[in-house]
């Protein structure tokens, strides 16, 4: 999956609600759909997006398929956010160095 895929996967309210529910406990598509104001096929489609993004895993339990959060996907998401702010804050800090070097008599 790509960073963009993960960000788009978590950026939709129904998918976010699905992730919140799976955080409590793994569930089947049917149970998820019964708790959401969208159809079961719609929930299945959202789950596919979440699986493709690496955030959800599907496991067989007898005749059922249980949806789980995938910690690897969240680790990647967190790493992306971490890197995002590393870069932003480096630019922020750099802006003070440049100000110092420009010898601004107004106090920088």
């Amino acid at each position: 999956m790509t960073d963009i895929q993960v960000l788009e996967a978590v950026g939709e309210p129904t998918r976010l609600a699905i992730l919140e529910m799976l955080k409590d406990e793994p569930r089947t598509v049917g149970v998820l759909a019964s708790a959401l104001p969208v159809s079961q096929p719609a929930v299945s489609q959202h789950l596919k997006v979440l699986r493709d993004a690496g955030l959800v895993r599907s496991e067989k339990d007898g005749a059922r398929r249980i949806q789980h959060l995938d910690p690897d996907g969240f680790r990647l998401l967190r790493e992306w956010v971490d890197s995002f702010w590393d870069q932003a804050l480096e630019a922020y800090r750099e802006s003070f160095r440049q100000a110092d070097e420009s010898d601004d008599p107004g106090g920088g």
Binding site: E12, P13, E20, S34, L89, E90, F96
Partner: protein
């Protein structure tokens, strides 16, 4: 949420007032627009409306705006906080809090980027000021779980 908060610390060689002003009022002077925006190469400006409820947004070459979030706290020179949903639906916003603390070498700036488990707290802060729908969808869904 399964994603723990991200906390970053950086110390800048200036007083908190200036550190705060640079982060907020002067955000356009340093924010890495090309890599950290929705419009990317077309992003020409980043703006922060400096009050609770104010928008944090970017502007494109053609004048189009994309809102990244809204301020939930404005407390110069100590603290600024905002919801965070660049390129995403407001209902999926996360939360960013930036605090500024005087230290011997200048100011320690702390950025905390929180996932969704603290959205409820941020929602309480914004609720008194104005109507924001970003928390309503999520709260509705989560509340529906209580009936199960």
């Amino acid at each position: 949420m399964a994603m723990d908060p991200v906390v970053k610390l950086v110390t800048v060689p200036t007083a908190p007032e200036k550190a705060f002003r640079r982060f907020t009022e002067e955000i356009d002077a340093w924010w890495p627009r090309r890599s950290h925006s929705v419009f990317e190469a077309s992003c020409v400006a980043v703006r922060m409306e400096r009050e609770v409820g104010g928008r944090l947004y970017e502007v494109s070459e053609s004048g189009e705006e994309s809102t990244w979030g809204c301020l939930t706290a404005w407390d110069p020179p100590r603290r600024v906080a905002f919801t965070w949903h660049p390129g995403r639906e407001e209902a999926t916003a996360q939360s960013v809090e930036v605090t500024f603390r005087a230290v011997e070498d200048g100011t320690e700036v702390r950025v905390e980027h929180v996932g969704w488990e603290k959205l409820g707290d941020a929602a309480e802060e914004t609720r008194s000021g104005y109507d924001r729908g970003w928390d309503l969808v999520l709260k509705r869904y989560v509340a529906s779980l209580g009936k199960r």
